[in-house]
Amino acid sequence: MFPDRTSRLRASLSSAAGAHAIADLRFIRQTMERSASFTAVPGWGGFVMGLSALVAAFVASRHSSSRAWLATWLADAALAALIGAWAINRKARAVNLPVFSGAGQKFALSLAPPLAAGALLTVVVYRAGAARLGGRVYGGRVRRHPDSFRRYYREEIWRLNTVRAFEPRTARLSRSLPGCGARLTRQQKAE
């Protein structure tokens, strides 16, 4: 009877330890999930954002003027940001944490600058491009009022700066493209 009792005691002790271990692991996982849950827009949020972009692409393609095209995309950018914010908010409520707890704040702060910079650059590139393309593509001259000279000058500085900002990337891309092409043709030859 005695050994039986000790073995039973040992069994219950070890199963208690096991249950405790499982509870501990669950606690660790929950803490990790809760603390990191705001580092990303949930998947379905990204899906809805993508859908809005498809609609925007369709609408934008039907516009003839580039100004309307730009307006469509900028409106979609704002809409996508709203969808993202809404998705994050829902996710936060599901795990019962304030949206702007540590990780949420960090996420918003790190996402906002590139979004804003992207929108700003789009406008700048559009304006710079319109001023240049207007002159080149349509064969006409960009009409300039004397008083708008300063504005033109300012735009030109913007354009040069954006070109400089993008140049390394395009240069890298144009360097890697011939390589890709060569590799592809070599593969085809080998086949």
Binding site: S14, A19, T31, L97, S101, G102
Partner: protein, 97 residues
Amino acid sequence: MIELDSLIHERVRLGIVSALAVNESLSFNALKKLLDTTDGNLSVHARKLEQAGYITCTKFFEGRLPKTEYYLNPAGRNALERYLERMEALIRATRHR
């Protein structure tokens, strides 16, 4: 019996180390909200972990507000990994009896 790291066996301390394992750094307030604990409790436990070299604590001012930010050290990450392994072993031992 498998010995456990008593330093992170405690709930709040385990919570701090777990949360810092998946975040580069967390502020005192973020940890407090996350673990649903009090100022005093959190600071005592955080100091224990800091003394053990598991976490690093930096204090600075944001305007006039003092801010405390916590980071996980390699020693703390190792401790959490060892702890998880022991828990796994415990569960395995219960299942395979």
